[in-house]
């Protein structure tokens, strides 16, 4: 009897897992825009991970084709060094996306952990943590970054992401705490406590999955936030120059190539702008599906 039961339940969990993915598939299929969003995001992920491999470490420049408008050869034209703008966008995506990923991970992990802890423990810890969070939220991010940029050399995307992440967890922590507090009041958390289930089970298996859509959404949103912030800082030119980066491209396009004045460099300006907008679009479209993916009821409807 028991011998037959084991494989059965094992397969039950796999079916369940398969059900989850087929549910996700269903949710995605529900609106074509979501599929488009997924395609875009997958595209960006691919671009960041593998894109640079298709190009030499150092992009060759053509001295005879400096700052050229788009053509068949160069879809978005060339930069003032005669390099292909599209290639620059692709190789530059790694920095941007890596940084954004680091930011998102830190924001979400830190924010979620603190929010959960605070909401779950309540009492003194909660008060202290939330005071800190309030303070953090009060300190304006961008100006702080500007001031920080004078002391800190953001020498790698990881470091940059680290700083952005450390600056960004406040909102998530606050929201996760609120969610935790409200979920805490739900019977199922209390029941789990009454059954003597461990805190790690309660947090990991009961609370987190219920907040998953929320956390996932925050993750995606902090990706866009990180992209904007770093690209913006590079654009302002307050960060040290980094040859492969969208923000640097924008900065150079405007302040070096004069893209706002002469159409030849417009491609140089528009390419990173388009990349940013496309990424935003992808994220907006996918965020739209988050709720339905993580909520079994909506998923299967």
């Amino acid at each position: 009897m028991s011998a037959t039961l084991i494989p059965e339940t094992a397969s039950a969990t796999t079916t369940m897992r398969r059900n989850f993915w087929s549910g996700v598939w269903r949710v995605m299929k529900r609106k074509p825009s979501r599929m488009a969003g997924v395609v875009i995001l997958v595209g960006f992920a691919f671009m960041g991970a593998f894109g640079p491999m298709f190009f030499p470490d150092h992009l060759p420049g053509d001295v005879n084709a400096l700052t050229k408008p788009p053509s068949w050869e160069h879809w978005f034209g060339t930069d003032p060094q005669g390099r292909d703008v599209l290639a620059l966008v692709i190789t530059g995506s790694r920095y941007v996306l890596l940084c954004a990923t680091v930011t998102a991970v830190i924001t979400v992990v830190l924010g979620t952990a603190l929010g959960l802890f605070s909401g779950f423990k309540r009492g003194r810890w909660d008060t202290v943590l939330m005071r800190i969070t309030d303070m953090k939220l009060t300190i304006p991010g961008l100006p702080l970054l500007l001031v920080l940029a004078t002391v800190w050399k953001f020498s790698s995307p990881i470091q940059m992401g680290l700083v952005l992440g450390l600056l960004g967890w406040g909102g998530v922590a606050r929201a996760v705490r609120a969610q935790t507090l409200s979920l805490r009041e739900r019977g199922f958390i209390e029941a789990a406590r009454g059954l003597g289930l461990s805190t790690s089970h309660i947090v990991g298996r009961e609370l987190l999955p219920s907040m998953a859509p929320y956390i996932a959404m925050n993750m995606l949103i902090s990706v866009t936030g990180a992209v904007y912030a770093q690209v913006g800082l590079f654009f302002l030119g307050v960060l040290p120059y980094e040859s492969d980066n969208w923000g640097v491209m924008l900065n150079l396009a405007v302040f070096q190539a004069g893209a706002m004045i002469q159409p030849n460099a417009l491609g140089y300006l528009l390419a990173p702008l388009l990349a940013i907008m496309l990424l935003t679009l992808g994220i907006v479209l996918v965020v739209d599906a988050m709720d339905e993916i993580f909520n079994p009821r909506l998923r299967e409807e």
């Binding site: 028991s2 011998a3 739900r186 059954l195 079994p296 009821r297």
Partner: protein, 336 residues
Amino acid sequence: MITGNGIVKTFKQRGNMLGAREVRALRGVDFSIPKGGAASFIGESGCGKTTLGRIIAGLETYDDGEIVIDGVPMSSLTLKRRQPHFRKIQMIHQDPYSALNPTRTVHQTLRAPLALRAKQTGRSKAWMDERAAEVLSLVGLDPATVLARYPHQLSGGMRQRVVIARALTVDPEMLVADEAVSMIDVSLRLGILALLKDLRERLGVSVLFITHDVATARYIGDDGDLYVIYRGQVVERGPVDTVIADPVHPYTQSLLSAIPVLHGLELPGEQPVVPLEALNAGQDDVGCLFAPRCPFRGERCDTERPLLQLTEGVPQEHACFHPERRSVIARPMSEV
């Protein structure tokens, strides 16, 4: 056997800087529920029923008093050590919709406590699955169809059964059912009540029933005690049928009088006590807590607080200076 002595609970709502507001939810409650027995708490909204239930289930701390579970006084243990004892007491929530995690299937929901148990007792995974099926069958659900479902795919009644099944996974000694049927369709209520009754009989689980509805209390445990709670104090306590038939506390009487009469099947009671106006929290320093609303108030009531006690000629304990039996509940037509 679970007993409580003088349980006191005061909620301090943290106000802004200028002092806290206190809510005295329980003011020294004694209770005792024998193994396999039953007890019911009734009282109007806000009287502290849920708070007491949660304290008994170990989900809430208490400020004073003692709870003894199977002879072990809880005050002698650290908070952590109390847990295994309190685990014997499981709470069934009022709202089966929120009592189950919407992101987890019934299987997952049952598995978690079973896994814990399996770990403690060194049992196998197979046992877990067996046991899951077993508890589901116990509550009258078909494991095959229910296990893989999410809560939203179940009806309210089924959900409440799953909640009970989940409580059964830890082999509890007592179930605390806090208005366990009030959110369930009328035609299904009795099914759940019958299940609880059945579990009492078959598994020897004692049931603590918290409700507005005295009739359901009677259904679950007509051999148990009925506790009438008023503003955190037990004002009358005795065997269910006695209290229902011959209430002596004016509060119990108005509570019972408020139960609608099924005209056509029943006739109104002989001496109904007019239902009271809604409770407005009043002073609580001196005198009988109920005095401000009491139609039979005497002078003493304003200066002295009556304690729960037995008096001569009254079979149940009560906290009233003027106990008087009144037959307030409706009588069946057939008896007339």
